[in-house]
């Protein structure tokens, strides 16, 4: 099987990898690059646990081929904290107990960051609809929505 050579930027760093044509970006991140923060919950784009941004656009990594990111820029949960400084969303998720098992958390954080970059002052409804592609079975969403609203306010105040 011929593997494809792909050069991309991942979390700001130049990265090269080899992948099979049918490998998804999620397979590549998890299996080839050991970036296992993006989770596989369904492999059909229905749960959002593998949310990443591709050229700043929020996508499910399970619905992107690894080969497609040639020349593009990918951001994953692993790139969200800067050094030992957590992103305000990460901080608020912790303070609000916006996670129980935590498996959906990376996807929610990546998706919420994409929301706040598009809409810095979202309403509760905006947050709920934007995050509708991220399933959480533990929290009932309440604390997640509160954490996102509060992080938005933190970021606006900066």
């Amino acid at each position: 099987m011929t593997r494809l050579h792909v050069s991309a930027t991942i979390n700001g760093d130049p990265v090269e990898f080899l992948c099979e044509p049918e490998q998804t970006l999620l397979d590549v991140l998890r299996d080839e690059l050991q970036l296992t923060g993006s989770k596989e919950g369904c492999s059909s784009g229905d749960c959002g646990a593998c949310s990443v941004t591709l050229d700043k656009r929020l996508v499910c990594a399970c619905l992107v081929l690894g080969a497609e990111v040639e020349g593009h820029s990918v951001e994953t949960i692993e790139g969200m904290a800067k050094g030992n400084k957590l992103h305000p969303l990460q901080q608020r998720f912790l303070e609000h107990a916006a996670l129980q098992c935590g498996v959906c958390t990376p996807g929610f954080l990546v998706a919420a960051r994409a929301l706040l970059e598009t809409n810095p002052d979202p309403t509760e409804r905006d947050v709920r609809y934007w995050l509708a592609g991220n399933l959480c079975r533990c929290t009932g969403y309440d604390k997640i929505v509160r954490a996102v609203l509060e992080a938005a306010s933190d970021i606006r105040a900066r």
Binding site: E22, D46, R57, V59, L63, L65, E70, W130, A132, G133
Partner: protein, 287 residues
């Protein structure tokens, strides 16, 4: 499996024509990758068309919007003037899947996946959109309602690609709307979809109308009788009731995991009426 990224339409058509039956076009990939992963398909070749300029642009020319087949839902929603002219088409596209899916899913893909429940495709049919198709034998134009002919079945010939979709020039006092019914607010497939597109005359009467229905037959329906129920009326309550009845009558739905036949028959009429009301308000414009 091979993966190719042609940079021109000619190259893409040549790749697809040369390939056996196991060649697939990759645009947003939101359907294709699911099929790949579930082993529903095992193509020998995937042709990623996103490096081709024509399929990635939205062009406004001669009063018409020409939307590249690989423009994503999110890009469509961000276009400065498209939403004003065709809010129904844009909103329908925005209903497809999650924010994540919006980042990838394309108009062309939604149409060519040929699901009778495809939200944007129903709105395109109501809008009277025309698909621009290129293939080994050159270029042809296909009305949106003639692209999908059955579940997963298109009228495209081997090697053909939908390049763009053209929305017709918009007369004054026009408006469109698309509504769908899903049990969840998001992340769902339409159990019923209804798109309505109307143009009013100076007196505020309906001069032209198109009504399209999704998920109520093996393909998207262009419901002419339902449109006729509106033309010549002021979209008053009686006309809307006729619309509702004719829309329901046009359906030939089945019972399936997403809904019952009885439910679809009933709700198709309800949604057509509700969509018509919104289309009417939009056609009248701000007071």
């Amino acid at each position: 499996m091979r993966y190719e990224v042609p940079e021109s339409l000619e190259e893409a058509v040549a790749l697809l024509s040369r390939a056996g039956s196991g060649a697939c076009v990759l645009a947003g990939g939101t359907d294709l990758l699911v099929q790949l992963r579930s082993e529903a398909i095992a193509p020998d070749l995937i042709v990623d068309i996103k490096a081709i300029a024509e399929v990635r642009q939205i062009v406004f020319t001669g009063g018409c919007f020409r939307i590249g087949a690989a423009v994503s839902g999110a890009e469509l929603g961000e276009h400065p003037t498209l939403r004003k002219a065709w809010p129904g088409v844009v909103e329908a596209t925005e209903l497809i899947g999650s924010t994540q899916i919006q980042g990838r899913a394309t108009l062309g893909g939604n149409l060519c996946n040929a699901s009778p429940a495809a939200d944007s495709a129903v709105a395109l049919v109501a809008a009277g959109a025309v698909a621009s198709v290129v293939g080994p034998d050159g270029h042809r134009e296909v009305p949106a309602e003639d692209v999908g002919v059955g579940p997963g079945q298109t009228s495209l010939e081997k090697g053909e690609i939908v390049v763009s979709l053209t929305l017709p020039a918009r007369p004054r006092y026009s408006g469109d709307a698309y509504l769908r019914f899903t049990p969840r607010t998001e992340m769902d497939i339409a159990v019923v979809g209804a798109g309505v597109n109307v143009t009013l005359d100076e007196a505020g009467r309906c001069a032209e109308a198109r009504v399209a229905l999704g998920a109520v037959a093996e393909r998207i329906l262009l419901a002419r009788e339902a449109a006729d129920a509106l033309v010549g009326t002021s979209l008053d309550a009686a006309a809307l009731e006729r619309l509702s009845a004719t829309a329901s009558a046009a359906c030939r739905p089945i019972d399936d995991k997403r809904g019952t036949r009885a439910f679809r028959l009933s709700v198709a009429g309800v949604l057509a009426r509700r969509a018509a009301k919104t289309a009417l308000e939009r056609a009248r414009g701000p007071r």
